[in-house]
């Protein structure tokens, strides 16, 4: 187990490096540069040139990349081009809210999709099943930004029950209850998208397992239907579900850009949007690095969970 873990972590290093190279190239290929974004276009060219010198944009691209890498090796992510704040600070401030939003949505999604999917599968072709597969279709089809705006309109503007955006109330908010209140709408929007997709996964996976011979063996023993479903079937059905839920985590981190915009949620999605618009290279590079690390980490986590859930999967070396 430990050698396996070590090997996976060592393999992650070149993978991460490769990703940063690709990111850097794409970023450089994108039209526009940070200086144009920062400075009034009527500024004299000498001043622009000076600014470029200052930001290190005068040297060739590969030199810029290696300088960035050198900084990284020393634990430095550099400074933002637009706010001049250390990138590590910017990300550190923003990652918490994003993780909160992502995991709240994932948790809520699991909490709904699992039981509904199981019920749909065990009561296949009943009215409940049709209703749920129908709703899951609706859930997948509604664009999150549209649902977000709709929810803000109804629950914030019309009913006034929930805040329309932000993470805490400006008039002395910031407690746990206050944060949860702000969390409710954006998390719901993300959760709806997850639930819509995952109900189908859970249902399909469960249906697959329900056909297996070992469930007949369990019934032949005289086991109750409840035990057949939740003891014998569910653990087997969970294996593929684990993978799809795991792969949802990086999607949630990146995919919440839009939702964070709509709800003014102070997470890395918003930071990423601002950095893209201002061509804030150091921040973008760091954000990409974080995103790549999250993807690799969740993959590893899913693999480890898999071996815990399925006795046939063992990592020996």
């Amino acid at each position: 187990m430990f050698p396996y873990l070590l090997r996976r972590l060592l393999i992650a290093i070149p993978v991460l490096l490769g990703i940063t190279v690709i990111n850097f190239v794409i970023m450089k290929l994108a039209p526009g540069n940070p200086v144009e974004m920062l400075i009034d276009p009527n500024t004299p060219p000498e001043l622009i040139e000076a600014k470029k010198q200052m930001l290190g944009l005068h040297s060739p691209a590969y030199v810029q990349y290696f300088k960035w890498l050198q900084g990284l090796a020393h634990g430095q992510l550099g400074y933002s081009f637009s706010s001049y704040a250390p990138v590590s600070h910017l990300i550190g401030e923003r990652i918490g809210p994003t993780l909160l939003l992502a995991f709240a949505a994932l948790f809520a999604g699991l909490l709904v999709a699992l039981p509904v999917g199981i019920f749909s599968a065990t009561r296949r072709n009943t009215r409940f099943d049709y209703l749920m597969t129908g709703l899951s279709f609706v859930g997948t089809s509604i664009p999150p930004f549209f649902l977000g705006l709709g929810l803000i309109y109804v629950f914030a503007l019309k009913l006034g029950w929930l805040p329309p955006g932000g993470m805490r109330d400006l008039n002395g908010g910031g407690g746990l209850g206050d944060t949860l209140l702000h969390l409710l709408l954006p998390a719901t929007v993300l959760a709806v998208a997850i639930v819509g997709k995952k109900i189908r996964y859970v249902r399909a996976s469960m249906l697959d397992v329900l056909k297996q011979d070992y469930l007949r063996t369990a019934r032949a023993k005289g086991a109750r239907e409840f035990a057949v479903i939740y003891r014998h079937a569910l653990r087997n059905a969970l294996l593929p579900i684990l993978t799809v839920f795991g792969s949802e985590i990086p999607l949630l981190l990146g995919g919440s850009i839009l939702i964070e915009q709509i709800f003014q949620w102070p997470g890395i999605g918003q930071l990423a949007m601002q950095s893209i618009l201002s061509r804030d290279y150091p921040t973008l590079m760091a954000l990409n690095l974080v995103a790549a690390a999250v993807v690799l980490a969740t993959n590893l986590l899913v693999d480890l969970l898999y071996s815990a859930a399925d006795p046939r999967v063992r990592y020996d070396a």
């Binding site: 011979d213 070992y214 369990a218 032949a220 006795p311 046939r312």
Partner: protein
């Protein structure tokens, strides 16, 4: 005398996209304690469906569409829920064809075995574990304590089938239904598994219904044999009469299609032409007529009844056999017993 298992006119239907089909159509089985009945037939003859129907394990789309199944006089067809569960595993246990898929891959051997034990007896977990280890030892599994903690994938097919058998024997059932228990195993393991089932029968006096297509297994295990063709029993006899004197053309065909140890060198095996008709398109008349070398017009139009045709309760469903054998002989058959 009262039979242990009495299956009367049992029919099984399945809903399919092309409408309802009836793969088992009016079969009758009567079994005394300690007896072994083999049900023989090709794939598609309905033998597995019949076995599953006894325990009401037909699964989605399948139902018993007629007849009754009685165990010790109690009707299993009308039972539901908890009543049925108290029979499954306790009074009637089942061994399945595929040991590779019959065990749950994510639960340890021990937990599956202990579950079977505790479902029908009030034993503590610890005590059930001890019993489980004993059961594994009794089916010939070495180091039973260690195997309890292992998962099915680390055991061979033969070992898994032993575990399945141990699970089936956990509550000392009065009836054991085995659906092709040795088909997926190699020959030496087959013999060991059959030996296990025999030992259990001798020790406990339980009855066995053994589903197979292997006439070698029949010769080894059976007291009585029912030959199933297209959902109907076409011939039924004690094992000696059947092998010495197969009457139905289908049974004769089956015998000719397997090699026999005293066959003449160079003698060819004769396959039965064609295949079992699909339950969705059953031929009129005798269901075997289009593969039968002796079929005449009557066979195509009218289905023969399953009737005693020889002494010892040897029954056949065939017009030709009826004509060959005098009716008086048949009358004797219904009162005569044994060989």
């Amino acid at each position: 005398m009262a039979y242990l298992l009495e299956v009367e006119e049992l029919s099984v239907s399945f809903r399919t996209e092309g409408g309802e089909i009836t793969p088992v159509d009016g079969i009758r089985i009567a079994l005394n304690p300690g007896e072994t009945m083999c049900i023989v037939g090709e794939s598609g003859s309905g033998k597995s469906a019949a076995a599953l129907a006894i325990l009401r394990l037909l699964g989605e789309g399948g139902r018993i569409s007629g007849g009754s199944v009685r165990l010790n006089g109690e009707d299993l067809v009308s039972k539901t829920g908890a009543e049925l569960r108290s029979f499954r595993g306790k009074e009637v246990a089942m061994i399945f064809q595929e040991p590779m898929t019959a065990l749950n891959p994510v639960l340890s051997v021990g937990s599956q075995l202990i579950e079977a034990i505790r479902l029908h007896s009030k034993r503590s977990r610890k005590e059930a574990r001890r019993v489980a280890a004993e059961l594994l030892r009794s089916v010939g599994i070495p180091r039973p304590e260690a195997v309890l903690g292992e998962y099915p994938h680390s055991l061979s097919g033969g070992m898994r089938q032993r575990v399945v058998i141990a699970m089936a024997l956990a509550s000392e059932p009065k009836l054991l239904i085995a659906d092709e228990p040795t088909t997926a195993l190699d020959v030496t393991i087959q013999a060991q598994i059959l030996e296990l089932m025999k030992r259990f029968r001798e020790r406990s006096g339980a009855a066995i219904v053994l589903i197979t297509h292997d006439l070698g297994v029949v010769a080894e295990m059976a007291d009585r044999v029912a030959v199933l063709y297209a959902g109907r029993i076409v011939e039924e006899a004690d094992v000696f009469s059947l092998f010495e004197n197969p009457l139905h053309p289908y049974t004769q065909g089956l015998m000719r299609s397997v090699p026999s140890p005293d066959a003449v060198r160079g003698q060819r095996l004769v396959p039965i032409p064609g295949s079992v008709p699909s339950p969705a398109a059953m031929p009129a008349g005798c269901r075997f007529h289009d593969r039968c070398p002796q079929a005449d017009r009557r066979c195509r139009e009218e289905e023969p009844p399953l009737e005693p045709v020889r002494a010892g309760g040897h029954k056949a469903r065939c017009w030709a056999v009826r004509e060959r054998l005098p009716a008086t002989d048949a009358t004797v058959a219904s009162v005569g017993g044994g060989l």
